[in-house]
C-alpha cells in the first residue's frame, strides 16, 4: 500500500529530465553567456558596463530574496551592500599593507576572494540589524528599514575613520597573491572576476530557493499564521532569510569594491536602495530571472541613456509606474506571458491582440517621449531644439504639438478599443 502512495507522489513531481531542463540548463546557459562575452572583443566601455551589470545582478538577486521570496519590502537594502563593500575595501587595504609589510594572514589572502569578506560583512550587518527589524512583516518592516537606512547613512558621514567621509575609502586591487593568473589590473581581467562571482551569486541565490529555509520563506510570505501552526517561527524564518540576503548584498558590495576600488558613504544612502528596488520590481519579483533582467536593463539605461537624455530618471519613473499599474509581473512576466501565449491554442488570436496593443503602446511612447524631450530642451535654456529624424521641433511649433498629441490620443484610443473588444468577447 505504501508503495502506491510513494509512486503516485513520484508521478506528480517533475521527471528527471524536466528537473534538468528547468534547474540546470538555465544555469549552464548563464555560465556560457558569461564565458562567451569576452570572445566578441568588447570595448572598454562595454567591459565596464558588463562589470557594473554583474554587480547589480547579484545585488538585485539578494534584494529579491527579501521582496519576491519572503515578501519583505525593504527601503534600505543598500546598507548591507555598502557595509559588505566597506568590509571588502578595508580588507583590500589590509592586503596592501601586509604585502608590503610584515606579511601575516592578509599577505596570503588573494584579492579575488574579497567578495567572501563582503558576504561576511553583509551577513553580520544583517544579523545585527535584522533582529529588531524582522519581528513584523509588511509596513512596519518597510518603515524600520527606512529608518535604519537613514541612520546608517548619517553615521557614514560621521565616522570618518571607518567610512572615509565625503571622499570615501579607496584601495588598490593589484596586491597580494594572484589567482588563476589574473592580476586584476586591466579591465578584461576584472571581467573574469566579476563573471565568476556573478555566477556564484546567481547559483547561491538559486540554491537558497531550493533549501527548506528558502521554501519556508515563501510560505511565511503567503501565510505566516499557517507557518506558525505547522511549527515554524515566522520571525525566525524572516531573520534567517534576512541574514542571507544581507550576505549576498555584501557579496555584491565586495564585487563593487574590487571593480571600482573605492567606496563612499553615498553607497549606503537611500538612492541605491531605491535603485535596487526598481531593478528587482521592473524585472519581475515573482520570477527568479526577473531581477537579472531588471538589473541588466537599468544598468544599461543608467550608463547609456544618461548620456543620451537628461530625463532618463523620468523615463525610469514612467516605466516603473507603468509596470506597477499594468504589468505587476514585471519584464519577466511579460516575456513569460508572450512565450506561453504564442504557443498552443489561440496563438493567432493572441498575436493579433498583442500586435494591436504594442502598436498602441508605441504610439503613446512616441507622444510622451516627444513631450519630455521638447520640455527638456526648452527648459535647459541653451536654445537647443529637439530634432529627431531631421524634424525641427521647437516648443512653440504647431508640428511639435501635433507630433505629441496625435500619436498619444491615437495610442490611447487603440488600447481602449482593444480592451473593449477583449471584454466583449469574454
Amino acid at each position: 500500500m505504501t508503495n502506491v502512495a510513494v509512486n503516485s507522489v513520484n508521478v506528480l513531481g517533475p521527471s528527471g529530465s524536466q528537473k534538468f531542463m528547468r534547474r540546470i540548463v538555465p544555469l549552464i546557459a548563464l555560465a556560457v553567456v558569461l564565458a562567451v562575452i569576452p570572445f566578441f572583443g568588447p570595448s572598454r566601455t562595454v567591459y565596464s558596463l558588463m562589470s557594473a551589470m554583474g554587480v547589480n545582478i547579484v545585488f538585485a538577486m539578494s534584494y529579491n530574496m527579501l521582496l519576491g521570496r519572503a515578501g519583505l519590502l525593504s527601503f534600505g537594502h543598500a546598507v548591507y551592500f555598502g557595509l559588505g563593500g566597506y568590509a571588502a575595501v578595508h580588507a583590500m587595504g589590509a592586503i596592501e599593507a601586509a604585502s608590503y609589510g610584515e606579511g601575516g594572514f592578509w599577505a596570503s589572502y588573494p584579492v579575488f576572494f574579497l567578495p567572501v569578506i563582503g558576504f561576511a560583512g553583509g551577513a553580520l550587518a544583517g544579523a545585527i540589524i535584522g533582529w529588531p527589524s524582522c519581528r513584523r512583516a509588511g509596513t512596519p518592516f518597510a518603515m524600520i528599514s527606512l529608518g535604519v537606512a537613514e541612520l546608517i547613512a548619517a553615521a557614514g558621514f560621521m565616522f570618518g575613520s571607518i567610512f572615509g567621509g565625503e571622499e570615501g575609502i579607496s584601495g588598490d586591487r593589484m596586491n597580494g597573491p594572484e589567482l588563476f593568473g589574473l592580476s586584476l589590473g586591466p579591465i578584461d581581467e576584472v571581467y573574469w572576476f566579476i563573471a565568476f562571482w556573478t555566477f556564484i551569486g546567481v547559483l547561491g541565490t538559486y540554491a537558497f530557493t531550493r533549501t527548506p529555509l528558502g521554501k519556508m520563506s515563501e510560505a511565511t510570505r503567503d501565510n505566516p499564521e499557517r507557518v506558525e501552526f505547522v511549527g515554524y517561527d515566522p520571525q525566525k524564518v524572516r531573520y534567517l532569510v534576512f541574514i542571507f540576503s544581507g550576505g549576498f548584498a555584501g557579496l555584491a558590495g565586495g564585487m563593487a569594491a574590487v571593480n571600482y576600488e573605492i567606496f563612499t558613504p553615498e553607497a549606503l544612502s537611500l538612492v541605491p536602495s531605491g535603485m535596487v528596488l526598481l531593478m528587482a520590481y521592473i524585472g519581475g519579483i515573482r520570477y527568479f530571472a526577473g531581477p537579472i533582467m531588471g538589473a541588466v536593463l537599468l544598468t544599461y539605461m543608467q550608463s547609456m541613456m544618461s548620456d543620451y537624455s537628461e530625463a532618463w530618471l523620468l523615463y525610469l519613473g514612467l516605466l516603473f509606474i507603468a509596470i506597477v499599474m499594468f504589468a505587476p509581473g514585471g519584464l519577466a512576466g511579460i516575456v513569460v506571458g508572450l512565450f506561453n501565449g504564442l504557443r498552443g491554442e489561440g496563438a493567432g488570436e493572441n498575436f493579433r491582440r498583442w500586435s494591436v496593443q504594442i502598436a498602441g503602446i508605441v504610439l503613446i511612447m512616441i507622444g510622451l517621449i516627444t513631450l519630455v524631450e521638447v520640455s527638456v530642451h526648452w527648459s535647459n535654456n541653451y536654445g537647443e531644439v529637439f530634432e529627431p529624424f531631421g524634424m525641427h521641433l521647437p516648443h512653440d511649433g504647431v508640428l511639435t504639438w501635433a507630433v505629441i498629441f496625435i500619436p498619444f490620443v491615437a495610442g490611447v484610443g487603440i488600447l481602449r478599443m482593444a480592451h473593449k473588444n477583449k471584454e466583449g468577447q469574454a
Binding site: 524600520i144 565616522f159 509606474i321 506597477v324 499599474m325 520640455s375 527648459s379
Partner: protein, 310 residues
C-alpha cells in the same frame, strides 16, 4: 535663556509645519492604508505652484490657489492611479507612490530647473515683528504660526463638528460599514486624498519661502513625514500633532545645544580627541527622527496615540 526662548518659538513653528505636512498623510494612511511616498512631493509642488503664482500675481492668491491645485492633482492621482493599483494590494500601492515621487521630482526639475528658485517672503510680511534679547524676530514666522493654527482649528472643526467629518471619521475605522450605509466610499477616499494633498500643498506654500524651494525639498521632508505619522499612531490626528511638536522641538533644541559627546560622557573617560567624543549634539539633529522611528516601532508599534498597530 535667550537660546531657550528662540528654540522654543522656532521649534513650535517647525513642529506646526511638520504637522500640516503630515496631517493629510495621517488621514490617508489611516483610512486607505496607503503610506503615500509622494506626499512630500505634493508639498514640493505646493511650494513651486506658489512660486509661479506669486510671480505672476501675488502671494495671497498663491496662498489660496496653490493648495487647491495640488489637491486637484492629488485627486486625479487617486482616481486614475491608485485605484487601479489598489487591487494588487498595499505593497503595490506603496510602490506606485514611490514611483510617483520619482516622477514628480523629475518633472519639477524639468519645469523649474535644478537649482533653488527665488521664492521669497511677501513684502507685506517681510519685517521684524518684535525684538527679543536684542535679536529681531521675523513677522513671517509668526504668520506661519497663525496659518498653521488656523488650519488646525479648521481641520478639527470639520472632522468633529460637521456631517462630512463624521462620515470621514467613520470611514477611518470602518470603511466597509460606511459603504454599506450607502456612502460612496471611493469618492470619500478620493476627496480625503485630495484634501490631504492640498494640506501638504499649503505647507509647501508657507514652508517653501520659510525654508528653501528646490528639487531636493521632497527628498528631505519625505522620510520625516513618515516618522511623524508612524510615531503619532494610526488613525490619530492628535498623535500626529504630538509627534510633530515633539520632533520639531527636539530637532531645534538639538541644533541649539553646543556640546560634544566628550562633554556629556567625559566621566566615562571619553576624550574630545577621539572620533566618538568629537561628535556634536547638533550634528545628531537630522538623525533624531529616524532614531525615534526605529525605537517606537520596536517598543510600541501602535505609536503614541494610535488605536491599532500598523
Amino acid at each position: 535663556m535667550e537660546t531657550i526662548v528662540f528654540s522654543l518659538l522656532n521649534g513650535v513653528i517647525y513642529g506646526l509645519l511638520l504637522f500640516m505636512l503630515s496631517s493629510g498623510l495621517t488621514l490617508i494612511f489611516s483610512m486607505m492604508g496607503v503610506l503615500n511616498f509622494a506626499h512630500a512631493s505634493f508639498y514640493m509642488l505646493g511650494a513651486y505652484f506658489a512660486y509661479t503664482i506669486s510671480e505672476a500675481s501675488s502671494f495671497w492668491l498663491a496662498l489660496v490657489f496653490a493648495p487647491i491645485l495640488v489637491g486637484l492633482v492629488g485627486a486625479l492621482v487617486e482616481k486614475y492611479g491608485l485605484r487601479t493599483v489598489h487591487v494588487n494590494g498595499h505593497v503595490a500601492e506603496l510602490l506606485f507612490t514611490f514611483g510617483l515621487a520619482y516622477l514628480i521630482d523629475e518633472v519639477v526639475k524639468i519645469v523649474w530647473g535644478r537649482n533653488a528658485v527665488d521664492y521669497r517672503v511677501p513684502e507685506l510680511l517681510d519685517f521684524p515683528l518684535f525684538e527679543l534679547f536684542g535679536a529681531q524676530y521675523p513677522a513671517y514666522r509668526i504668520f506661519t504660526l497663525f496659518v498653521a493654527l488656523a488650519m488646525l482649528a479648521a481641520l478639527w472643526f470639520i472632522l468633529n463638528r460637521t456631517r462630512a467629518g463624521l462620515i470621514i471619521q467613520a470611514a477611518l475605522s470602518h470603511p466597509h460599514m460606511v459603504g454599506h450605509l450607502g456612502h460612496n466610499v471611493p469618492r470619500i477616499f478620493m476627496t480625503v486624498f485630495g484634501v490631504g494633498c492640498a494640506l501638504a500643498g499649503l505647507a509647501g506654500v508657507i514652508g517653501g519661502n520659510y525654508l528653501v524651494t528646490d528639487p531636493a525639498m521632497a527628498v528631505q521632508m519625505g522620510p520625516i513625514v513618515f516618522v511623524v505619522v508612524v510615531v503619532g499612531g494610526l488613525g490619530s490626528l492628535m498623535g500626529a500633532f504630538l509627534a510633530a511638536m515633539l520632533l520639531g522641538l527636539l530637532q531645534t533644541f538639538a541644533v541649539a545645544i553646543d556640546a560634544r559627546f566628550a562633554d556629556i560622557f567625559g566621566w566615562l573617560g571619553l576624550s574630545e580627541a577621539t572620533e566618538l567624543g568629537s561628535i556634536t549634539i547638533a550634528s545628531l539633529a537630522p538623525m533624531i527622527p529616524f532614531l525615534m522611528l526605529v525605537l517606537i516601532l520596536m517598543v510600541r508599534p501602535r505609536g503614541l496615540l494610535g488605536d491599532r498597530e500598523l
